[in-house]
Structures are given as C-alpha cells and as structure tokens.
Amino acid sequence: MYAALLSNRYLTSRVIPLIAVGAVALCVALVIIVVSVMSGFLDMLKASGRTLIGDVIVSSGIGGIPHYDEWLSDLRALPEVEEATPVIDTLGLLRMPYPSGPSKEIAPVQVWAIEPASFARVTAYGEKIWWRPPADEAARETMLPDDPRLRMDGSILRDGLTLSQGATGKPGIVMGMHVSVGNARQSDGSYRPRFGWFMPGEDVTLTVVPVSESGTISEPRDATFPIVNEVFSGVYDVDKSRVFIPLAQAQQLLRLDAAPLYDTTAEPDAEGNLPLLGTTPARVTKVLIRAKPGVDALAARDAVEASWDAFVAKAARRSDRLGRPPERVSILTWEQQLRDLIGPVEKEREMMRILFSIIYIVCAGLILSIFWSIVIEKTRDIGILRSVGASRLGILWIFLRYGLAIGVVGSLAGVGIAWVVVDNINLIHEAIGRDAPRAAWITTCALSVLSVVMALRSLVWRGRLLPGLLWTIATVTLGIVTLALLGHRGTLIWDPSVYYFSRIPSQVDWFNAAITVGGGIVFSVIGAAIPAAKAADVDPVEALRYG
C-alpha cells in the first residue's frame, strides 16, 4: 500500500527518474527496431528466396542431367513430391531496346530457361508476374490512376505465364523488374515505366555461350525474344539480373537438346557423313521440386535423393554411355540453397541482439546510480517509515517497485516508439533520402533563435545559471540540427543492391519485442535492486539521528 503510494510519488515528484524512463524507452525501442528490421529482412529473404526456387533444388554441373524427363516422372510419382520442373540456368548478355540510337545498352543477365506451366506450379512464378490487370475491384482500388496495369487486359498475364507472345506465337522473354532501367519504383511500391515507353512488346537479343560436357566453350549464340512481361520477386539480386525464356529455346541455343552424335575421329563416308555414334539426350541443369503440402523440405529432400540414386542405378544399366547422369549433383532444400544468403543475416541479427543487449547494462547502471542517490537523499524518510513499522522487505519493495515502474513505463514507451518507427520506416527512410524540406530547417532555425533569446533572458535579466545553460545547450543543438538539415543532400541508407530488397521490412517482430520488454523490465529491476537493498539495510536510529 504505502510502497505503491511512495514509489508513485517518487516517480512523479522528480525529473531525474524520467531520464531513466527515457533511457529504458530508447534502449528498448532501439533493440526492437533493429531486431524487427533484421527479422523482417530474414523473413523476406526466406520467403522471397523461396518463391522462385521451390522446396528442393537439384543442380548439376554444366553437362546437365540427361533423360531428365524420365526422372521427372519418377519424382512426380513420389508421395512427398507435389510437382517437379526442369530448369537450365546459364549466364547471358541481353541487348536492350534502348537507348533509341543504333548503339544499345547491354545488360548481363542470369538466364533461367523454364517450362512455364510446371515452373509456376513449383514456384510462385505466376504470382510474381507484375504486369497484369487488377484481379478484382479491391486490387483496382489500391492502384493509383496513372498505374499502367489499370489499362491492361488478361492477355499480358497469359503471355507471361506461357512465355510466348500471344499475337505472334513467338517464344518470349520475361525479365526481372530491375533488369530494365525503364522501371522506376514509386514510393507507393508500384512501378510506372519511365520516359513514357513500356517494355513489354519490345524485342531484346539474348546472347549465350554453349559449353560442352567436357567444358569446351563454343561460339556465342544469340536469339531475339519479344519481352512479354516482367517479374517482381522482391529480392533485388534476382530482379536485377534474372530473365526467363522457354526451355526448348534454351536447349537449342546451348546445344543441350537431343542431337545425333557423330564420330569426328573417323573418316567421312562416301557422302561425306561421319559415322553416327548415337543420340545425345536433351539435358537440363536444374530440377526444382515442390513438396506436397505438409511435407517438410528436409523429408522431401531425402526422398529426392533416394530417387536420384535409383535413377543413377537405372541409368548405369543402360547401354548408351551418352545418357549417363553426372557423377555429382547437389540436392538442397531451399533453406540450404539460400544458406549463404540467410546465414550471415542470422548471425548479424544475433550480433546485433548481443551488442544492443549491452545497452541494458548501461540502463541498469543508470537506474542504479539514480536510485542510489535517491536512497541516500531519502535515508531519513526510510528511517521514518521504519519507525512507523515498515519492514525491511517493505522498504526493499518500495524501491523495487519504483524500478519496476520505470522498467514497465520505459519499456512500453519503447515499444510504442519502436512501433511508430518500424511502421513508418520506409517513409522515414525516404525522407532521409531526400533533401531536407525547407520548412524543417526554417523551424529549427527559428527555434534556435528563440532559445538564444531565452538563454539571454535567463542569464542576463534573471541571473539564473541553470536555465541559462539549458537554453544555451538547446541553442547549440538546434543550430547543429539546422546546419545538418541545410547540408543534408539525401543519403540512401538502405541500398537495395546491398540488402537485396527494395523495401525495408516494416513489421514489428512482436515475439522479440516481448523478450526485449521483458529484458528492459528485468534490467531496470536489477538496477534498482542494489540501492533497494541498501535502503532496506538503513538503520532507523542512525537515519533519524543524522537525517
């Protein structure tokens, strides 16, 4: 009873403990913001990374996997596997349709040749196609009037899903959103093409280099594709460099299609033909697998591996040596595949958590020193309380409660701050990215002038040093802020090319927030406990005699 009364009174009757509340709030907010952004980043990495690779990824060397069709049907028959899709990945150069002169820009790209129908069943490819009419009225509502998607019909989405130009029937290319410079992301998150032209429909030329099974590099080959759509995965690295073309075209370009094989060492026959050795089967370099719902990626991986071993064993019994599967393939779950992307971020998050947890100790120390001086100041009051019958535990509880109150109020305020910041982090980031608005520095400038006046008033007229000093500090701070705002030329802190994503995650990680709040409270109480124990040890007679 009296403990509550007194700790509340102590909390509200002085300014210094409010500094402790502020410190706890800032610490908690800082930790929550950092960990939330990192966690959100991790989640985005995982989710987005996963969207375009499925659950299990089988990759072979450049030679590829022959007779992949057979294996795919084996895989599809597995109870763990929902769908499997073949992919060829290679590097290429893309001749862009811009600028308008004869010399065009060349973009290095990572080519994924896919079977769009099965690929869309394994990955979220279909959902990541950007240019499409709004699905429903609700989606239409979210778009701004100048969003080009509002004027589109379903054919553009169909072209993207089939990787072919509906009008001409030509095989088409789907590019990552950031491959072309024409796409400018708006702050609302949508893309509106710059310069008034629009990529879909333009032709691009893709140049790739076929590499033989033995590693011999052949002459580069090229093909022209109309752009039929673009994908936006959210992973900047992917969106910056990935292009999709139909599998059949890629097999031809890269000489991975089924072809007769002649014996080049033999003499040509009378008609000039070399003796036929056999047929090299068509190959792909990757197989992506989607697990059945409810099947764990690791379990699916194991099933895929067993299936691969069976496939290799079956192929070994085959007579044609050309169709031998490669010695080694890597079979990874999506998480393992993204390991080198996710791992460092996870480590970084732990590092941050540990580093920022040190702040708690600072907080606890601050509370300790504030409380220590309060206990010394209040020694007489403690003696009074003891003299009217308060127990040592009662005295202890006053200060623990006081620390608890600071911890709870501070931590909750911290959560509030963190929530506001995290929720608006992209706005804040964009504001930092722009030049400071004139109003901002005019305001701070005006405020600093005001505080000069206040400082002079306190120092000269009233002759008071403390308010004078405080106003002077305010003046200097505001002056520095004004200069900083004036000099601010817009810095992008969250560089999408470093952080893979073009948006900063803006979800508070509530689980971690709860842990952080718990930590804030615990450390506040720990900080309070030491002075509280001292208070409990106060000898009432001594306290009253000298108080």
Partner: protein
Amino acid sequence: MADAEQTPPDAGTDRSGRPPSASTEPPILAAHEVHRTYRFGQVEVPVLRGASIEIGRGEWVAILGQSGSGKSTLMHLLGGLDRPDAGRGTIEFEGRAVNLGAGRSLDRYRNRDVGFVFQFYHLLPELSVLENACLPGLVGGWFGHARAAAARRRAGELLEQAGLSHRLRHRPAELSGGERQRVAIARALVNGPRVLLADEPTGNLDATTGASILDLIAAQHAEGLTVAMVTHDASVAARAQRVVHLRDGQVVEG
C-alpha cells in the same frame, strides 16, 4: 535544578519512584537493566548502564537528563527502533519482551503498540498531511484496503482534533512547525497505540506552540493513553505525572 519546584503538586504525590498503580497492576512498558554501548573503533562508549524504568498503564512520565545522557537512546529502545546490547537488558511491553523477537515482530510492535513523536517532526515531504497521518495504517499489509480506509477515517478525526482539517491536502513544507508536530502526533496515534513515546516534542517550538502541543497530548492522555516524554524543559516536564532523570546511564526517580 528548578524541575522540582515547577512540578505541579498533584504530580508530586506520585513521585515515589514507582508508578501510582504499580502495586496493583504490572507496568505497560518497562525497561529492565538495559545496557547500550556505542563503539568508535576501539573505544566503547557505554551510554545506558543498567537503566530500568517502569511506565504504568495510563501514566504520563517525563524523562529529563542532560544533553548526551542517553534519553533518545532509551526512547529508541522503548520504541523498538533499537535493541539493547546483546543479552544485557530487556524491554517489556505488557509483560512480554519485545526486543528478543524477530525483526518482523519488532516491526509490528512499532506499528501497532507504540507511537513515536520526534523533535524534528519527521514527516515525509512527498506525502500530503492526510497521507502522512495515515502512514502507519498503510504499513504492514499489502492489500489492506479496508485497513487503509479505517486509517484514513481515524487520521481525519485526529487531524480535526488537532485543528488541521482544512489542511489535509497540504504538503508538510507548507505547514508551520507546530502544525507539523500535530500531524506527527496524529500519525503516531493513527493505529491506536497504547503508548506514545515523544522525544522532545516541543524542543523545536516556542513556548505557546509547545503548550498547545502538550495540550493535544494531554487530551489523549485523558482518554487513557500512556505517555513517555523526553524533555529538557522543566515546565514541559511539569505537565507529566511523574518525572525521572537519566544520570550516568541509569534512571533515577524524582
């Protein structure tokens, strides 16, 4: 000393060295052969050397003595704020030793059985007059809402008796010394203790204000409160029924 002359004649009859009712009733509060020694490093300063005092039920005793004679020390022992040297003397309240129990029982003793008034009022500056007066009622229970309400009522009554009902919401700093001491007396009495221990309650006040404080104590005494009061001032001691002196660490009657 001038004490004896100023003692009213009615009190004089009780100056036998024993409380008036001693023969019939056991004392409410007593110290038996208590020793209290302070230590400065190697040097030992024995302040109380076998001091004994018996305070009868409903009695008003004044304790006089020179500065440094150990009056406050004795009061602290009687009030359960301090303990005698280990094994050297006992303090008995209603026949039971209070200084031997655990800290908890001593806390309870201070809270319920005795009320303490100090020379320097010792009010909590953050609390209002009413809250200060309630304080002992709030101590000693975590969820004592009913008790707190009762304490509030009783504190209101006591403050009204002390003529402070218009200042309940004021902070101690806004009161005069005499007013503060009235609040302190209300606080000491709020839990309805049997004994009031006052250590120079008027020592910091002018004569008129001091007299009004003593009137307040006298009113409570008339209602049956036992009072032990330390003072320097013979005219203050004259208000008591019995005067004892503390000399050489011992209580001397008369």
